[in-house]
Amino acid sequence: MKMTVGHYLPRDSVVHSLDPRVKLFLMAAGIGVSFNLENPASLAVFALSLAFLTRLSRIPAKGISAGLAPFVWLFAITAMLHVFMTPGDPLFIPYATRQGLEGGLRVGCQLVMAIWVSTLTTLTTTPLDTVWALEWYLKPLKYMNVPTDEIALAVMLAIRFIPLLFEETDRVIKAQKARGVDLESGGPVRKVRALIPVLVPLLHSVFRRADDLAVALTLRGYAPGITRTRMKAMRIRFQDMVALALTSAFFAALIFVVEGIDCQEMLFFV
């Protein structure tokens, strides 16, 4: 399975150049907004705005679709659950209701929007920038002795090594199949037992990689608790302020004007 998480696409665009803290904040807000849109018109406007942002960031449509593809099953299951579990006017399919169909489509669209927002953020923000932004947001926890720097580095390394682990798993499965290991036939217990010849070499490889990585980190001068500097200075610029103001205004207009949600309801949601 190919995951788009962490697949940064370098482009020379205004979205790429925005401060990662602003992008992370807007991503969180965008996901929140997408789950609050009930009206088809507001969902359509939100989708159009995302399409505009995708175009502005020079990300090809297939980049976004690659991010959405692994979640198709989630959209399908969620929509189906709504279709068959929501009480209402019956449709021509047994147990399906009109209200369920509407709800399923709405929730499916909300999920697509939410994942579109997060995919767009990861495609336009380098993992290191994301980690720095995350670290900045976690700063208050430092005063509670939470090792935020170490957490941030662990996140960065996970982003870097998760695709490698997928590749490694694929390689081990192929190697074991070539040796005649049968991973497909038999009942669930047999299938789980058949995974042992995959898991053992995989764990061995993971530990070897982790060992190499620990050596590499030491060689690059990393030690827990050191004060690190940064190649790019993180500074909120005028364009970040504009992006923040415009996007916040857009989100507010969608929520309070098009959707008609009042402040009390929104506060309850938050």
Partner: protein
């Protein structure tokens, strides 16, 4: 250079031993590596080469004996460069070391430029590490060390995962780093042919230095006379040894081959 400019010795090991909980890896190493030299180390598996590399790089400490790097900064490149890359973007990966050193943003950028220039890979600055070939990843691993301004570069099988073309290109660049930037190179390998640029070649066996030669050809010549397990001289080195044995200068192989042909013709008549 982090030490004083007039340093003549980069590395001094005196009676260095190292033991893992269940095995002795090094049983007494005495070694002096001059600054700016290219030192090759060959030996079979389990002879203690990687342990020696880790000791020189400061990852491990000797059990007994002393190891002095004379205040010079040591970098190490392992056999699988993919495991040493920590970021998804080349410039961010190279910046990781200088950022840990607490350098300023402009200084870090200058280091990245310098390191990429040294390995002729300026065009890869914004590239994703996931899209690079094995050879390019190896170069980025070297750049990551160069950005930290290392004086001694230790390569532990640093070319083992590369195809022949990438390997020879990388070896040429390591030679450039050694000759052009005066970096001391300690190159550990199984392939004696990779050490053509070496000023000294050591053979390790069972945790000790068994043989010391002045060059890869010198060692290949000695190996042709005595058996040494785990060391492969390779066809090119054996050919050069043959040329030298016949008194033919092997500096230019094409010219030397023509002379050899002449030599064979003359011996037939």
């Amino acid at each position: 250079m982090t030490g004083s400019e007039d340093i003549k010795t980069a590395l001094t090991l005196t009676g260095v031993t190292f033991s893992y909980p269940r095995a002795n890896a090094l049983a007494g190493i005495d070694l002096t590596v001059p600054a700016g030299s290219y030192c090759g180390i060959v030996g079979p598996n389990g002879s203690g080469k990687t342990t020696l590399a880790f000791l020189i790089a400061g990852i491990l400490r000797p059990t007994t004996g002393t190891l002095d790097t004379h205040g010079l900064r040591v970098g190490l490149v392992l056999s699988n460069p993919a495991n040493q890359i920590v970021s998804l973007v080349v410039e961010e990966d190279i910046a990781f070391g200088p950022e840990n050193m607490g350098l300023s943003g402009p200084e870090i950028n200058a280091r990245i430029d310098g390191a990429l220039k040294a390995i002729h890979s300026e065009h890869l600055r914004k590239a994703l590490t996931s899209t690079l070939s094995g050879g390019q990843l190896a170069k980025i691993a070297y750049a990551g060390q160069l950005a930290m301004d290392v004086d001694i570069l230790v390569l532990d099988e640093g070319t083992v995962m590369l195809d022949p073309d990438s390997r020879s290109a990388l070896l040429a660049q390591i030679r450039e780093l050694n000759e052009g930037l005066n970096k001391t190179v300690v190159h550990i390998t199984h392939r004696l042919e990779d050490l053509m640029a070496s000023d000294m070649v050591l053979v390790m066996e069972e945790g000790v230095i068994r043989l010391t030669a002045t060059s890869a050809i010198d060692l290949a010549d000695r190996l042709s006379r005595e058996e040494s397990p785990g060391i492969e001289a390779g066809p090119e080195l054996r050919y050069r040894c043959l040329l030298r044995a016949l008194g033919i200068d092997d500096g230019d192989l094409r010219q030397a081959t023509a002379l050899l042909a002449e030599h064979i013709r003359a011996s037939r008549t």
